[in-house]
Amino acid sequence: MKIGVVTFPGSLDDVDARRAAAVAGAEAVALWHGDADLHGVDAVVLPGGFSYGDYLRAGAISRFAPVMDTIIKKAGGGLPVLGICNGFQVLCESHLLPGALIKNHHRKFICKDQALRIENNRTAWTSDYDANHEITIVLKNQDGSYVADEATLDRLEGEGLVVARYLDENPNGSYRDIAGISNERGNVVGLMPHPEHCVETLTGPSTDGLGFFTSVLKAVVAS
């Protein structure tokens, strides 16, 4: 069972995502943005960071990396893909997920321990959570405000595609408190907070993030 983690120029949390995959029991494989080969991985994480310095728009340049061509194609075939923070932005720019992420409403970078509710535990990345499981994981972003038109938001909610919602105060102005969404098939998930920083109590506020990585192991075995 191999989880690939893509490194774009400016990726920052790639090492953390690989560590989290390993803690969950997977073999972590480093993937390079310029290499279209996925090296036989069973799932892919697009990690957090400021790929290409967020120049133009967050995720807008990474979306054109050779590795993304393969990922977009295989995601259509069911490959589990998790985009965290900048990875979520890349997924939206790639049109694997609807909507976009814009600058936080308070215009500041924010790093805090954030309470979330997992609202959809039927995706490849969230099956290990209970329905409406409340977790606290790290949130840190500059452009974390999820936006989409009303029709899209209604559809996401109507079809149960909102994966996670912020609890307590909305930290970045996301519409309808949305922290993460998935595609219809449930294999592609975008999440603004960082589960990869929450896999050991020594260095994170909780181990609540581990479930994303253990879930995908089961999803791969089941498929």
Partner: protein, 753 residues
């Protein structure tokens, strides 16, 4: 304009040169003429002017800094592998690892252009650490501002914080500590100090020298632009005067994305073992890198300046030599390694160009389109700058200041008054919650942050298997330093040392950032020399060396210098980070016994209480006994290792009251405390005596813990118990944690939005 070549300079000895505009004094200009036996070319003049600036040459501080050499160069953790004079100090921490760390100032640029000034301050120190061969693993930023309610603070502070965060966050470096301090003397001259820690294997240590005749000089990273020209001489080495021209063009502009690529690219170059010598380009840009590399190596270097890739093709050679464009490095590479070097740079989309080579001439020779524009002995540029024995005089007002102690001021006596005092103090800018600032910094990235602010020190795991780690704290109470610079510097050292030990790490080495007013003021030079004397004596007593640091002079507005601010960073080593001690009282600690370690004296001068309640600064700072500090550290480290304590917090600004507020709010569990017999409750809560800490001891370990203190004859007094949802000072007052939190957290958001 035709190029001012060496032959032109020789044949036109009497040409007027703009040495004064470049910040040189008449005798310094004459000295350059004496060294060269002719007038310098305009390029040479540019190089000497930036390299002989206060910032680069340490001409006013050199004679004092030499005293750091009197400290034994061994650390309690292991050998010092590189020390003062290198880009950053390096110490052996065992298991084949070495760490490098250093703190630097970026004060003046951050006043002129807060965001970019602070951002490039972070960028500069990170490249220093990288240049030693290490992977940067954490940053911290001691910051000082004018009063929180001053209009200019609202311009300067958000920009600086956003710059520190914007740059560090984009590099993927956790920001794990630092300080945010307010004092009226920093209005118009904020302090932005930036510290970086790096980790490497011993064999990865790299030094800045250009050896091996025929080896190639490669400039890589960002292209050279017109930003930051003369930053060190124009900005860092002068005070600001009203009505002068704006100095914004002398501030550099940073691109953290480029720096992130530079870091990964450089680490891959190190791993490929093709880097013979390396230097980052910071202050004084190419002038510094070429002259320092050459003078530390075989002595000769030839550079074709026209091969330097430019962002702005119209730049003159003098400007290219002085530019402080960010995100550039210079490497020395064998001819056989060049191809692989360029290949690795291409992988990371980093531009790299061979611009010269190491020669046997003993001279630094630079050509511009085939014409020689620089021909100098490199040592004369890099190391033989002027050295000044500046006049030193103890200020006339010092005695009067010291005679005016805060101990005589009226104090709270009733429970109600003590409660009011506490609430006023915790809402004051220096003691209130700083998360408005620190929430803008990523403290989690890289996944090794074991402790981060508001803990006593930041702690980073170095090895995931063994648990080996390092802890770092930075501290300075400038008010204490003003009252007595010698004792104030020792107190800064003591506090930083104590903060590291409180988390369970053994202090090993020191870096310092010495922020002072103008060296041309004899009173300031006295403060400076006293502070150094205090640091040297303190380090000798504690057995830890100074491995590097930085001096920042000219921090004053008009005639008013800042509080003398010798910021001290102490780095400690911990064998197993899972044993670390946090500050918070958690629900699991309900019933733990609280002990105050150390003696509380009637010491209120220079305290936060005197500052906030009375707007008073006078008297003598708390006494400092470093033998006591070392004993206390030993107890804290052993208690952490043996599991005798579950929380600990050093006592400093704001006294025991502040400790109790921070520890209860951090962990979410309250405390019931009482003043020990014979101690006035006011002094118990607010005195700032040094050499103290509060610890939370599980009942099951109480006997072992007190036996250990007794055996070491160290004062330890039971002051309470962890319990409930309030801070209850018995027989005096009680405040709920909710009210404490509301008061403590409201200040910065209310002032800054």
């Amino acid at each position: 304009m035709s190029t001012d070549t060496v032959s032109n300079a020789t044949s036109t000895p009497d040409v007027e040169q703009p040495w004064a505009e470049l910040g040189l004094k008449p005798d310094e200009y004459q000295r350059i003429r004496d060294i060269l036996d002719r007038r310098p070319t305009s390029c040479e003049l540019a190089m000497y002017s930036v390299m002989w600036s206060e910032h680069c040459s340490y001409k006013s501080s050199k004679v004092h800094l030499k005293k750091f050499g009197d400290i034994p160069q061994e650390t309690p953790a292991g050998k010092m592998l590189a020390g003062i004079g290198e880009n950053a100090g390096v110490i052996d921490i065992g298991e084949g690892y070495a760490v490098t760390f250093k703190v630097e100032s970026h004060n003046h640029p951050s006043y002129v252009e807060p965001y970019q000034g602070a951002a490039t301050g972070v960028g500069g120190i990170v490249r220093d650490i990288l240049a030693m061969g290490a992977r940067p693993v954490a940053v911290m930023d001691p910051l000082r501002f004018g009063p929180l309610d001053a209009p200019d603070t609202k311009r300067v502070l958000p920009g600086i914080v956003s710059g520190v965060g914007g740059y560090g966050n984009s590099l993927g470096l956790p920001n794990i500590g630092g300080e945010v301090v307010f004092d009226s003397t920093y209005l118009g001259n904020p302090l932005v100090n930036a510290l970086c820690v790096g980790v490497m294997r011993h064999e990865d240590l790299h030094l800045a020298n250009a050896t091996g005749i025929g080896n190639q000089i490669i400039l890589y990273g960002a292209k050279t632009g017109g930003d930051g020209i003369g930053g060190v001489s124009v900005l860092a080495s002068e005070t600001f005067a009203d009505g002068g021209p704006t100095k914004r063009p002398a501030v550099q502009v940073g691109d953290p994305f480029m720096e992130k690529l530079l870091i990964e690219c450089t680490l891959e170059l190190f791993a490929a073992r093709i880097v013979e010598g390396i230097q980052d380009l910071g202050g004084a840009g190419l002038s510094c890198a070429t002259s320092e590399l050459a003078s530390a190596g075989d002595g000769g270097m030839h550079v074709s300046l026209d091969k330097v890739p430019l962002r702005d093709a119209s730049l003159a050679p003098e400007e290219i030599l002085m530019s402080e464009s960010q995100e550039r490095m210079m490497a020395v590479v064998t001819p056989a390694g060049v191809e692989e070097f360029l290949k690795i740079c291409a992988k990371w989309d980093v531009q790299a160009d061979v611009i010269g080579e190491v020669t046997d001439t003993g001279l630094l020779q630079i050509d511009w389109h085939g014409e020689r524009v620089v021909d100098v002995p490199p040592r004369t540029v890099a190391h033989d700058g002027p050295v000044y024995e500046r006049p030193i005089a103890r200020p006339a007002w010092q005695d009067e200041l010291q005679a005016d102690g805060a101990e005589k001021l009226p104090r709270a006596t009733t429970g109600e008054e003590l409660r009011d005092t506490l609430l006023k103090l915790i809402a004051s800018p220096n003691l209130c919650d700083k998360s408005w600032v620190t929430d803008q910094y990523d403290r989690y990235v890289l996944g090794n942050s074991v402790l981060a602010q508001p803990e006593d020190s930041g702690m980073i795991r170095v090895d995931e298997t063994s648990g080996l780690g390092v802890a770092v704290s930075t501290d300075c109470n400038g008010r204490f330093a003003k009252l007595d610079p010698y004792t104030g510097a020792k107190l800064a050292l003591a506090e930083s040392y104590r903060n590291v030990a409180t988390t369970g790490a053994r202090p090993a080495a020191v870096t310092d950032c010495l922020n002072f007013g103008s060296p041309e003021d004899a009173g300031v030079m006295w403060q400076f020399s006293e502070a150094i004397r205090g640091l040297v004596d303190g380090c000798i007593e504690l057995g830890i060396p100074v491995t590097g640091g930085n001096v920042s002079f000219y921090n004053q507005t008009g005639e008013t210098p800042i509080l003398p601010t010798p910021v001290v960073g102490v780095l400690g080593v911990i064998d197993d980070v899972t044993r670390r001690t946090p500050i918070g009282f958690t629900a699991e600690m309900e019933g733990h016994q609280l002990y105050l370690l150390g003696e509380t004296e009637e010491e209120l001068s220079g305290s936060e209480w005197a500052h906030v309640i009375h707007g008073h600064l006078g008297g003598r700072p708390p006494a400092v006994d470093l033998a006591v500090e070392a004993q206390l550290a030993d107890i804290l480290i052993n208690a952490s290792r043996d599991g005798l304590i579950d929380a600990a917090h050093d006592v400093s600004d704001g006294g025991v009251a502040q400790v109790l507020v921070e520890s209860t709010l951090r962990g979410g569990t309250g405390a019931r405390v009482w003043a020990p017999d014979g101690l006035d409750p006011f002094l118990f809560l607010f005195a700032e005596s040094a050499g103290r800490a509060v610890v939370a001891v599980p009942r099951t370990e109480e006997v072992r813990f007190t036996d250990m203190c007794t055996a070491r004859r160290f004062p330890h007094t039971k002051i309470g118990v962890v319990t409930g949802e309030s801070l209850d000072v018995q027989d005096q007052f009680e405040v709920s944690l909710t009210d404490l939190r509301e008061t403590w957290t409201a200040t910065l958001p209310a002032a800054l939005g």
